[in-house]
Amino acid sequence: MGISNQLKNQHLLWRAGFGPDTVPVDELSSDSNKKLIKAIFKASEKVPAYIDVADPAIKEIYQGMEEMYRQKRQLTEEQRKLVRDRSRDGIRALNLTWLNQMVHSEQQLREKVSLFWHGHFACRTVNIVHQQQLLDAIRRNALGKFPDLLREVSKSGAMLNFLNNNQNRKDHPNENFAREVMELFTLGRGNYTEDDIKEAARAFTGWGSNASGNFVFRKNQHDTAKKKVLGKSGNFNGDDILDILIQHPQTAQYITRKVYRYFVNETENEEQIKWLADRFYKGGYDISALFQDIFTSDWFYDQRNVGSIIKSPVLLIAGIRRAIPMEISNEEVQITLQRLLGQQLFYPPNVAGWPGGKNWIDSSSLMLRLRIPQMIYAEDTLTLKPKDDDDQMMGMKDQGDRKQKMKAFAQKRGGGQVIAATVNWDAYTKLFEKISREKLLPAISSSVLQTSNSVTVSTLDKYIDNSSRENYIRSATIQLMSTPEYQLC
């Protein structure tokens, strides 16, 4: 069954980005889909600018640490505290800066695919310098060649530390890194043996990073003897193992399947996945080409795929902000929302990333999702409180001026916060200026929702502010955004 051109283009904008921004409705229905695809890829071609929010003092400390180590000196208590506190602030700033990119950047596809890789290469670290280096590696390579992305992530200080490869030594191999590279980054579970992991771990011995996050190869700790991995033998090093994993067609299958579930449909279509994966493999793992294949396929626009995916919390927040342009004066409230909804950037639940799909939804998260648009509109108070995150608190609760800190923390966590947003409604209502009054509701509905709305007109009418055309458009939009249908794209 064919879908309207408008829906088709919106589908593309939701999947290849964070939803439509303020585009006049008639434009989306008249624009050619092919042209839009081209424009989306073109916009994401440029290498993105490095996001650097780390405190210069921290960077200086990290850069000096190798030297301190040589001199057998340690950080002073004051330096330690500086690193801890500013690093945490830095990660919050990185979160909000990247979120703003998702909302405002023209490079919608790049940021969206980066968000996918951010979950694929899930990594927690309290080190802001490492964290922003990893994010940069992901954003730069997001649409490039998968082998380059894999190699750069695998050699990042963030990942090597997170997966304990700094402790992977000739005499005491640590298998964590080798295991996750196979299980989560390339082959997927069931496509290698425990022996493969043991042997690969030996090949990764000596891979580590210095304090400023750069890759170092510690020759003395590397096991140079012969290893046997996935049926191949040799005096492999870590790069050789990554090559073997890349050459394995299962890697293309595994990545493609995950991409399909994230960008097309949670319900897999084997034929389509196989077709994509074969081309991905044969084309040398060109990520951009894989997405070209997806977005230009007729089946991508099948009714069954449109409106079938539950928006992730970050996509939901970014999507609302793109649709109705706003200034948020207390930006941190967005981090609280991310936490309450179950997806805080840079804090994946574990190394396997966010499971997504129906896992985003439980009673509390759904009710909060439904209330967000209304909270923005009415500046309603957010009375919910996310759980403590012990990884971030790190024993700072009981230091000296505890009470004051706790208060600051509670505020940061959003206890009793409102979403202080100033919405630019004029820009939004203008989008509908050519639509006649009687066609207004269907027009708003089809631009706000990706799935046909089951909320009846009579229900909506009761809650729509009819006092002026502007108020009608505003209230209808908020209303439609507060429905289960809006959770889908």
Binding site: R124, G307, M394
Partner: protein, 399 residues
Amino acid sequence: MLLKRKEFLQIGSLATASMMLPKFMKAFEAPHLVPPGNKVLVILQLSGGNDGLNTVIPVRNDIYYKVRPKLGIAPDNALRLTDDAALHPALTGMKELYDNGHLGILNNVGYPNPDRSHFRSMDIWHSASDSDKYVYTGWLGRYLDAQCKGCDKPTQALELDDMLSMAMKGEHIKGLAMKDPRRLFNTSNEKFFREVVKNHQDEHGEQTVDYLYKTMAETMSSADYIFKQSRIHPTSTVYPSTDIGNSLKTIASLIFSDINTKVYYLSLGSFDTHVGQDGQQRRLFTEMNAAISAFVKDMQQNNRFQDVMLMTFSEFGRRVAQNASGGTDHGTANNMFFVSGALKQKGLLNELPDLSNLKNGDLQYSVDFKNVYATLLNKWLGADDRQILGRELSYLDFV
């Protein structure tokens, strides 16, 4: 005009709320009376890694005092249980429970290849997975899946929180999180939401949107049900006005009603005491002690203590030696408390930790926590633990 804040928050009457539910939710509205002898499991999560060695103190162990010259709690200050063991001084009520045979203490609980990261280790405790596997469902969520297949009872497991823990998420059914029954009721029964749910027609339940509607309807229905139940037998016992006190008070009211809830979940923290452990742990224990004491008294006065099992756990214990900042760092094995009027074994259920046999400065576990889960699922909740935990595990004898 709905968009005026006041109106958003307007509450309809209880009767209207349930009348407006869609058909597929009607079955759920039938009363679910709890059979007599209904067993309830209350799980108290001590978040952040509680220091078990300063909880149950090995007062005659020289190693303990040697590696904790500042942090070690002197025998005279601790609440003596046996010649060898004593409780943290703030746990006076727990000591009383011990004396009355209502406290079981299981030492050295852990799992193979322990992970020292808070979130990963908590993940392992929540999912009951092996430490090298990633499972997205929680053990209590899978309990719901097993018990509630085909029945709409999302109130079987309640978490007293604004966010639902992974432990409570099943493949098909999830527990429900709420801090306060009234607040949940208020938000979920907003007029507009009620009408949206009422008018949703699709009953095939195959589309994702139907799943959302179903969750929404269940939440509203549950909110209504919980709110009503919590007001049937409001407890008259005085609880401390702390978070944990309020939560246990709500739980008590629900236990006294005929609600179908089998599992209650709540957290206390943070026990992540890298620095200044003494003050922080004492403060948290004081809160915990007062709240549990009130709760037990309440259960006893209402003749329900036999039906209640309260269990505490933490994602890991701390390292055996104190650190340079008057605290302890992330460790491994730990102890668990069981509070109930129906314990089959009481007091210290097994040996104290062997401080002379450490692994890299950490305790070695002797009981896998999954055996505790299996025991409670099978013997207390009467559930199929093998299906829920995906393996055959031996049971412990305290239940």
